[in-house]
Every structure is written in C-alpha cells, then in structure tokens.
C-alpha cells in the first residue's frame, strides 16, 4: 500500500481519505528546555506541507521524532490511522518515512549508486548484493527525475549541491509514504531548485505526503499546499497557503511584526580606504580581483554558487595562499597565507562554516569570544580571568547575546547568538576590517534582523565591512556598494542607488 517512485503503479493505490501521518499531542523535553509542547501535525497523502518556524521553534525536533532519531515523551503517531511506535530510524524507514536531512547523510567513500541503496541492498537468491541491479536502478531513477550524474562516481568527489540531489534521489529509491525534506535547497543552484520542485510535485501526484521545511518564504509560497508554523515548541497555525501573505507568515513565525528587517542607523561611509586589494589571483579560483573597502561602509559581494565569494574572503584575510596581487590593510601590506599578520593588522573573517571553522563547540562562551585577543588579557604570560570575563560580559550585554552564563558551552546557543559571539571575538581584537561570509546562513528570521542591525552598527563604528552573500534582500538592504562576482572574476561594482536586482543578476551570470 505504498508508492515507489521508481515503479509507480505497482502496489495498491493510496487511499486519499486517510491521513498519511497523524501526530497528536507530541511532547519532547531536553534538559532545561521544552523542545515540543503538545504539537499536532497531520499530513495528507498527495499534499505538500510546509513546516516553518524560527530556529529553535521545534521543527528539527519534530522531524527527528518522525525519523526515529529522537524518542517522544508524549503523544501518539498514526500512520494511515494505525498507531505506530517509532523507536529508531529503522522503524521509521519501515513505515515508509524518508527524511532528507539538511546535513549530507551519505557515505562519501561509496559510489553514488551504493548510497542510493544504502537503506536496503537488493540481493540475489544467495543473499549476496546484486550490484548490477543497483547500477541499473539508480541510473533509471536518475533518468526519471532528470538528474544527470554518474552513478559510478565516488560520492565524496561530487560538489555539495550534487550530493544533496543524490540524497533526495535516495529518498525515492524505496517505497515511501512520507518524504520529509529539511531545507533541501540550502546549497542548490537555481536550476537544481526548479528540478527539485518538479520532483516534489511528481511525488505528490503519486500520492506521497511531502513535508517541506524551509526558511525561504518565496519557496514555500511556490511549492506548498499547506503551511504549519511552530514557535517556541508550540503549534501556532496550520493553514492553506492561499490564506497567508508574507507578512502573516512572518508574524506567525516570530510572534510580532518585523516592519523593517534592515534598520539603518549608521551615517554615510567615510572616504578613508581601510582595505585595498589589487589584481588578486589564486590557484583555485580568483582571477585579477581588485577593489577597495572604506572605513564605515558595507561592501556587499554577490555571486552565484561557485562564483568565488568564499575563496575571496579566505584569501583577503590571509587564510589561503595567493598566486599574485597585493592586499593592503590600513596602509600596510598583508603577506598572503598568513592569518597571524592579518589579525595583527586588523582584518578578521566571520566564516560561512560556523561549525567547523568558527566555533569550538565544547568550549564555553567566554573562551570562544576571547580566543583572538588572549594577549590583551595576559599578565606575565597568564590570562587574567577576571579581566577576560569582564570584557566578554560587556559584549554579551552590548549585543544582547542570549546565554544562561559565560560558561555555557557555545554549541548549546542558537545560531544567531553563536554568530554574535563570533563577531565579539573579532571586535575585542580591535578590528579595522571585518569580512563576513554568509552571515545569516542557518539563522532564523527574527535573529537575522538582529545580525543585520549588528552589521550596521559595526560599519557605524567605523569598520569596513566586506560582506559575502547569496541573498539578494540582504545585499540590497545592507550594502553601501555592491560588487558582483562570476567565475572568480569581479564583473561589476555599483553603488546601492544604481543597483537593481536585474543589473546584479546579469553581472552574476557574466
């Protein structure tokens, strides 16, 4: 009684009168927090149901309960009217619930085809794996969904966006009744997103219930039939998408209206050049990039995936080696591939990949904040703890960082608050230039506006802010000047006044 994307029409048709999945009164606590409180969530076969909410609203917890990653503390789960007890991912898969998690869940050493059949290898009569079938079926599956990748490729050798597509394809290789996609577009190109949407609609037309988790309002309006909003672990609303506008949806998510996502407080930018980059090229990506950033301005860099934004960010702070060109910070040359001098001269990077390049998750908030400026708190080579704590506490107060204490492990903070701690790390150091790479990735709407306000304030305090972003509203809302990249080259620089979405996109396409 289920549908297999690869073999539609096999098995009995799905009964559309019974809910595919019905969760009632779901409760889940973690030490110190109620993650979910009496949440109802019902999925109808053949419908696309968006699940929205800020980070910490309980979306991931709800999905993880569905997937059997977490057990629930209260409530019932029914599949097509029958109560089920999902205790492990295995139980969940058996019920036909396929979850595509945000983090890539593939074995990178395996071939693409083997990853597709990871949940259950087709075997022959002797119980040995039928590799021929694996290759043929994955090729057939890719063919059906119009996804062009070599099933024999080693998964780890593919770019992230293709790995994400492989993961989505995997959810379709086995019988499924419910397919859950957690922020599936976070690293996809526009083309791949439209391909994904076609696949999702096809799934729905086969009678599969689809859960679509996203922060991106435009995507939700494009694809969803129904929207459920969670906030602070509670169910807020479930409505057909037609009854929502951008404003009502945001209001449900944050519980208040955000009138202006980009409050500009700062004055006009100064004329002093804080960072000057000339004819910069790197082995991997960048070709002849030249620009200047002035004290007190936000210089926004826009580019599609693979345009070289992250590479540029890493090169100008002295993290990556360069082939040719010069970087000058506050009048002084920065030797390439030397973050030590970079920090000394006053240039710092707020990385795109907080988890692996920014945070020391197990360490407390205060150590994460003071990392770059321990020298300032040192007396005779020992860190003066009182002084260090006081300095960090100042930033916690100034930036309204929500943490139970300075000693909380930073991994327990929300994404927005983690980001604020990382910004504090650089400010404590007395920066002149801060490079921020995708500052709001994985951060929810409410916290986003706080990060925007913070960036505004940084520029207001006279820092030059170089911001790499792939989000158009962020770019247009924050930047004084806009630079556009395409395939490692700088293709346009324009002031905010002369910039339009069209102009920017044209320059980004090249």
């Amino acid at each position: 009684m289920s549908v297999d994307f690869l073999h539609p029409g096999e098995g009995a048709p799905i009964d559309t009168n019974v809910s595919a999945l019905e969760m009632r009164g779901i409760g889940k606590r973690f030490p110190g927090v109620v993650a979910l409180d009496n949440v109802d969530f019902t999925l109808e076969p053949g419908k696309i149901h968006a699940l929205m909410g800020e980070n910490g609203a309980g979306k991931s917890t709800l999905i993880k309960i569905m997937a059997g990653v977490y057990g629930k503390d209260a409530g019932t789960v029914r599949m097509r009217g029958r109560e089920v007890d999902i205790k492990s991912p295995r139980d969940s898969l058996k019920e036909g619930i396929k979850v595509v998690f945000q983090e890539i869940a593939l074995i990178s050493e395996f071939t693409v085809a083997e990853n597709i059949f990871l949940e259950g290898y087709p075997t022959g009569r002797t119980g040995s794996i039928d590799w021929k079938k694996i290759r043929a079926e994955s090729a057939a599956l890719f063919n059906r969904i119009g996804f062009n990748v070599d099933p024999a490729a080693r998964t780890g050798s593919l770019p992230v966006s293709q790995q994400q597509m492989v993961e989505i394809a995997r959810a379709l290789a086995h019988e499924a009744r419910v397919v859950v996609m957690d922020e599936p577009t976070s690293s996809l190109t526009p083309n791949e997103i439209s391909l994904l949407f076609t696949v999702i609609r096809r799934l729905a037309s086969l009678g599969i219930a689809v859960v679509y988790v996203s922060h991106k309002l435009d995507e939700v309006f494009e694809i969803a039939d129904t929207v459920t909003v969670l906030r602070d672990g509670r169910h807020i609303s479930t409505k057909p998408i037609g009854e929502h506008t951008n404003d009502t949806l945001i209001q449900d998510m944050i519980g208040r209206r955000i009138d202006n996502l980009f409050p500009r407080q700062r004055g006009a930018a100064g004329s002093k050049v804080a960072l000057s980059v000339e004819k910069l090229s790197t082995a991997k990506k960048l070709i002849d990039v030249s620009f200047e950033a002035r004290a007190g301005e936000v210089l926004g860099f826009f580019g599609l995936m693979g345009a070289g934004r992250t590479e540029l960010a890493k090169a100008i702070v002295g993290y990556d080696p360069i082939i040719s060109g010069t970087i000058t910070v506050d009048g002084q040359r920065l030797a390439p591939h030397d973050t030590r001098t970079g920090v000394k001269l006053g240039i710092g990077l707020l990385t795109e990949d907080r988890k692996s390049e920014g945070l020391m998750g197990e360490l407390p908030v205060y150590q994460n904040a003071s990392l770059a400026s321990l020298g300032a708190f040192a007396r005779l080579g020992f860190v003066d703890k009182a002084k260090e704590h006081q300095a960090v506490q100042d930033y916690v107060d100034r930036f309204r960082i929500k943490t139970p204490s300075l000693f909380q492990q930073i991994k327990n903070l929300s994404g927005g608050n983690q980001q604020k701690v990382l910004i504090s790390r650089w400010l404590m150091r007395g920066l002149k230039v801060i490079v921020v790479d995708e500052p709001t990735r994985g951060i929810d709407v409410g916290a986003k506006s706080e990060i925007f306000a913070l960036i505004d304030r940084l520029a207001g305090e006279g820092l030059a802010v170089v911001m790499m972003t792939s989000e158009m509203p962020e770019l247009l809302g924050l930047a004084d000047r806009i630079a556009v990249m395409c395939e490692g080259r700088l293709t346009a620089v324009m002031s905010r006044e002369e910039a339009t979405q069209e102009k920017i996109l044209n320059a980004a396409i090249g």
């Binding site: 074995i107 290898y121 062009n148 990748v149 770019p159 190109t189 991997k284």
Partner: protein
C-alpha cells in the same frame, strides 16, 4: 535537463592515474618490486621452497589481519590479538592433553576466543568505551593471566596428535603449507563478505560515517559488536596454528604480534579512521613486510635493521597515501 554532468568530466584523471589510485594495484607493484629485488640479490630467494615457506610464516598475520582490518574498517581498533594468541593456547593444549581430541581442543579455544570477542565488543559497542583502551586493557589482562597460570613455563603438547602437528608442517599437495591454505580460504570468504554481502557493506558504512549508517537504519552497535567477535575468532585460529608450530602453550607467544599486524594492515591502506581499505590491501601489506624481512635476512642484515626499515616504510606509505588523498580532495 542536464545540470550536473559537467563537473566530473573535465577533472577526470588519466587512465594511469586512476589505476594507481587503486590502492591494491600500487601495493601489488611494490610487492613485485620487492620480489624482483631480492630474487636478483639473494640466492634461492625465488625458489618454490622459500616462497611457500614465507607464505606459511605469513599465514598467522594474514589470518589475524583479516579481523584487524575488519575492526579498523568499522572505525575501531583491536590490539588484544597478540595476547589472545597466547591465551587460547592454554585451553587448546590442556584439553587436547586431557582428551586426545583435536576437535575438543579447537572447540575450547574457539569458545574462549568467542568470550574475549564478546567482552571486547560489548565494552566498545554497548558500554561505549574507547576501543583502544578496552583492547589495551584486555591485552594486559590476558598476558598477565597467562604469566600467572603458566608460572612462565611452557605447557608442552603431550598428546602430539598427527592432525595437530600437520597444522604446522603439513602441506597441501606437498607444496602449500596447510596454514597458508587456511589463511587463503578465510581471506577469500571474508573478502567476499566485505564486498558483496550486505553485512560487509554495513561495516564500511558504519566506519565511513556512523551517524549516516544509523539514519540508514543500521544497528551500529551490533555491527561493531560482531566485528570484535570476528576479530577474536580469527586471532584464535592464528593462535591454534602458532601453538601447533611451537608445540606448546607459551607465555611469550604472540608478543608484539598485534603491532606487526597493525603495521601490515596500515601499510595495506586500511585507514584507522574507518570506512577505507580492503582485505586484499591488508594481505598485500602482510606479504610485502614478510618477504622484505625474509629477503633482508637473506642479505645478512640483522633483525634490528629490519625493524628500523619496517618502521620507515610504514610511515612513508601512510604519508604517501595522505598526500594522494589530499590531492584527490583538492585541498
């Protein structure tokens, strides 16, 4: 729509580079070079007698190496195998001396090995203790136990069963030592399991990424548990062959054996990080080190030098591997 095909086409490595990317092939070339070098420099090196002798000597490490590699691939380590070799000789020899039955002796040894495997596996997989610590612990416990029990005196094999003695000097068709035959059969069987049975692939998946394996519905703990049992049982088989060879249970049997096996396994390209490597690679690693040692002895080089050279080779091999991997990942 063709969205995703472009990336792989242009940085497709050359045919030769791809061949060398296969770990096993590079190892095979190394083995051939070692054989060629010593055939040219050492008299009687490339003779049927010497070749099959070395194969017989290698059979202990080959057999136990299967278990070692499987545990590595699952993302754990097992260094208790050397002590296990000495320990299981006790029930083996004692039962045979009492009953004159090889079958009962071997059963006793296997049962003992099974218990050790269960203990190691339980402590690592279910109690969640680091495998290096667990097997370091059981390694000391077993070695100490053997010293205590034997009073540091060998317990001779008084039963002297023909079938048991054949394990040490018997040869199939009068050419290949039985111990080598056992190793080859086990290698083939477990090699097939690792590549073509779902359980083998589960071991690779668990070692490759434990969380991903769990999300794919695997019972990660059970997989690891079973790997430790396999490792202990294979070490038991190696221990039985060793006991037959020395004709007794000895407290010093298998001393440092675990490190020889680990060295060969790592040389064979099996990663300590888990998920990478093959039994073929491990076997080639064992053979390279064994022939090297045999050849160097043929050249009259003292054992001390063999140790030094082995150490250098292992570091060089892993460094080479690391460099290759880094280039493949473009970083």
């Amino acid at each position: 729509m063709s969205l995703a095909s472009t990336a792989s086409a242009k940085d497709q490595p050359s045919m030769l580079a791809r061949l060398f990317a296969r770990q096993e092939l590079a190892l095979l070339v190394c083995l051939v070079l070692v054989l060629a070098f010593f055939s040219a420099t050492v008299e009687n090196f490339f003779s049927v007698r010497n070749m099959t002798n070395v194969l017989g000597q290698a059979s202990l490490a080959l057999t136990a190496g299967i278990g070692c590699a499987i545990v590595f691939i699952s993302g754990e380590v097992d260094i208790s195998i050397g002590s296990l070799l000495a320990t299981i000789a006790l029930p083996l020899i004692i039962i045979m001396n009492d009953t004159n039955s090889l079958l009962l002796g071997v059963s006793g040894a296997l049962l003992f090995g099974l218990i050790i495997g269960v203990v190691n596996g339980y402590l690592v997989a279910y109690a969640g203790i680091n495998s290096l610590i667990v097997t370091l612990g059981t390694m000391f416990i077993m070695r100490g136990g053997v010293y205590l029990y034997t009073g540091q005196r060998a317990i001779p094999d008084d039963a002297s069963l023909d079938s048991f003695i054949a394990l040490s000097d018997g040869r199939l068709f009068n050419i290949i030592p039985y111990s080598a035959v056992i190793a080859i059969v086990l290698l083939a069987a477990f090699g097939y399991m690792m590549q073509h049975r779902p359980f083998g692939r589960q071991i690779y998946a668990v070692g490759g990424n434990q969380e991903v394996a769990r999300l794919a519905g695997y019972d990660v703990r059970r997989v690891k548990f079973i790997c430790f049992i396999i490792s202990a049982l294979l070490a038991t088989v190696a221990g039985i062959i060793l006991a037959a060879r020395v004709g007794s249970a000895q407290h010093t049997a298998g001393l440092n054996f675990e490190f020889q096996v680990v060295a060969a396994t790592v040389l064979g390209g099996v990663s300590l990080a888990g998920g990478i490597g093959s039994l073929t690679g491990m076997a080639l690693g064992v053979l390279i080190l064994q022939f090297l040692s045999n050849g160097l002895r043929g050249l009259g080089l003292p054992t001390e030098w063999q140790l030094v050279i082995t150490g250098m080779i292992i570091i060089a091999a892993v460094a080479f591997d690391e460099a290759k991997r880094r280039r493949a990942n473009g970083g």
